[in-house]
């Protein structure tokens, strides 16, 4: 029957074996591509841009010109934009599991921590780009609003405020990313994300209204409200500290636990 023939040389034996691990930069490029190369990712990214431009146009058309200022536009545009944008961070992680691409991703790069870092880098880039888009929409809205409303263009944001808005954007993205790392399922993580940014803050203020001790403690533990302090004209040392403790509780701690789990979990 089948003759047992030993081949002269094993396949590929003449080639040197690879010694260089997949570089992080190259992997980050692949992960950047993965954010936008699916229908859901592309639509989400397009919606972020449409919401930014659309809300700028609506504000100019509908609001009274007396309230127009650069800061007014940036803050108003930013809210819906930064509600949507972190979903890109959620899906960047969860789609690996919900769509089961993790099986290929981690077979090609078994160093899971490296894959996670490669996902975080382009998401940070997306957060910065989203903020820059919001600033740009703010500039255009201020100029157009001044022209059509017959008012002076008011430029009322310092460099410091711009930088804090950037930090705000990065933190928002981090929330989405961490929720994704912890839950690893698209529907569950999207629901949890929306609960966290929409329901938890109002729950927190309701609690603060009824419980004295929570009125003092709340700002130290509730992340979304602490994050919105970054919007203010100035930020006190205490507010920075509150942002720090809330981030520790809601970002750093779950991230550490989530990553530990993710590094070990069986990929199926």
């Amino acid at each position: 029957m089948t003759a047992v023939t030993a081949p002269a040389a094993p396949r590929g034996a003449s080639r040197p074996r690879p010694t260089v691990p997949v570089p992080l930069g190259r992997l980050a490029g692949v992960e950047l591509r993965k954010i936008f190369d699916t229908r859901s990712g592309l639509w989400l990214a397009v919606s972020v841009a449409v919401v930014a431009v659309g809300s700028a146009a609506l504000l100019v058309a509908l609001e009274s010109p007396e309230s127009f200022s650069y800061q007014f536009f940036v803050h108003s545009i930013d809210y819906p934009v930064h509600l949507l944008m972190p979903m890109l961070g959620v899906l960047a992680v969860t789609s690996e599991w919900s769509q089961r691409g993790a099986l290929t991703t981690f077979a090609l790069v078994p160093r899971r921590g490296r894959v996670l870092a490669a996902k975080a880098l382009p998401l940070a880039g997306v957060a910065v780009a989203t903020m820059l888009l919001t600033f740009a929409c703010g500039v255009v809205a201020t100029l157009v609003g001044a022209a059509t409303g017959g008012v002076d263009a008011v430029w009322d944001m310092s460099l410091d405020e711009h930088l804090r808005m950037l930090a705000f954007s990065l933190l928002s993205m981090a929330v989405g990313f961490v929720v994704g790392v912890v839950l690893r399922s698209s529907p569950a993580a999207l629901v949890a994300y929306l609960l966290f940014v929409l329901v938890v803050p109002s729950l927190s203020s309701a609690l603060a209204a009824s419980l004295d001790w929570y009125r003092d403690a709340g700002p130290w533990v509730e992340l979304t409200s602490a994050q919105y302090e970054l919007y203010g004209d100035v930020m006190t040392a205490e507010q920075w500290a509150q942002l720090g403790t809330a981030s520790l509780l809601w970002l750093v701690l779950p991230f550490v636990l989530g990553v530990r789990r993710l590094l070990r979990v069986e990929i199926r």
Binding site: P10, G12, V20, V22, Q99, R268
Partner: protein, 308 residues
């Protein structure tokens, strides 16, 4: 070259893979055969570093898979053809793998051509692919890095007969070129058609392994006689294993021995020959059914041919 050594994987109290050891040699197609739930996929997941073993080890080309710096260039892995993002096109799926491995962009079209996916098909979203197309795409991904080893879990699922023949030829060429192929299947016919060596697993344990020829020969002798019951009794009395098979019996005695037993018993024989693949099938069903019925029995009949 793949080496699995005393590999055990438990999920809580349940042992999915139990002390499995075998090797898949370069230049050979090794078929990993077992019924559903036997532990094939679990073994291959551990091999590819996607699950941690409870004990034992698995190495590819002498290293743990997770320690390979750029595994796609050395080992092509296809563990589940449906585990691909449905929202990406087939081509995009390959582009991601090509970029991850750091290969020239031209490899994508070469691989597509190799597995017979047309440019129009490659532009469609994987969600709209048939299982057979997904298998081809998965094999294209596995072959992309021109690896020396292929690990494929149930790659023939969803392929039509022409597709299975295509895959057999592809794997044959790969192995003849000195490559190592380990593929799993729950269908004996597939493994018989494609593999040189067979590792049979049931309820997490290896129940038979050897070259296909050895296992076929090991299936024994078919004896057809006017009085098949007496024939079976005579063989059993002579200390041979006997399995009724319709109006004949199968025995583990070789044809010469079985003939002498029949002659000594004075029984007219109407047919006497080395049993064909159907015998291997009986053994497959019997062994796997036995282990499935009684997973804890240590008395599982085991057949081991010379290590390949």
């Amino acid at each position: 070259m793949i080496t699995i050594t005393s590999l055990t994987k438990r999920y809580g109290p349940f042992t999915a893979v139990d002390e499995v050891s075998f090797t898949a040699a370069a230049g050979r197609v090794t078929g990993f055969l077992g019924p559903n739930g036997a532990g094939k996929s679990t073994t291959l997941r551990v091999l590819a570093g996607l699950a941690a073993p409870t004990s034992g080890s698995a190495t590819v080309l002498g290293a743990r898979y997770a320690d390979l710096p750029n595994p796609g260039l050395e080992v092509g892995v296809l563990l589940d053809a449906s585990a691909q993002h449905g929202g990406r096109t087939g081509r995009e799926t390959l582009v991601l793998a090509q970029r991850t491995m750091g290969l020239p962009a031209a490899r994508v079209d070469e691989s597509l051509e190799l597995v017979g996916l047309t440019p129009a098909e490659a532009r469609r979203r994987v969600r709209d692919y048939s299982l057979g197309m997904r298998q081809r795409l998965g094999i294209a991904t596995a072959l992309l890095g021109d690896p020396r080893v292929l690990v494929l879990d149930e790659p023939a699922n969803g392929l039509d007969p022409a597709g299975i023949r295509w895959m057999r030829d592809l794997l044959r060429t790969f192995a003849d070129d000195g490559g190592t192929v380990l593929l799993s299947s729950h269908l004996l016919a597939e493994i018989e058609m494609i593999a040189d060596d067979i590792v049979m697993i049931g309820s997490g344990r290896v129940v038979a392994q050897g070259t296909k020829d050895e296992l076929l020969r090991g299936a024994g002798t078919l004896v057809r006689a006017d009085d098949v019951v007496a024939a079976g009794a005579a063989l059993a009395a002579a200390g041979h294993q006997v399995t009724p098979s319709g109006d004949a019996v199968l025995t583990d005695a070789d044809p010469a021995t079985a003939g002498r037993v029949m002659f000594a018993a004075g029984l007219p024989v109407t047919e006497l020959r080395a049993s064909d693949g159907a015998g291997l099938e009986d053994m497959f069903l019997e062994l796997t059914a036995a282990t499935a019925r009684d997973a804890s029995s240590p008395a599982t009949p085991a057949m081991t041919g010379a290590a390949a």
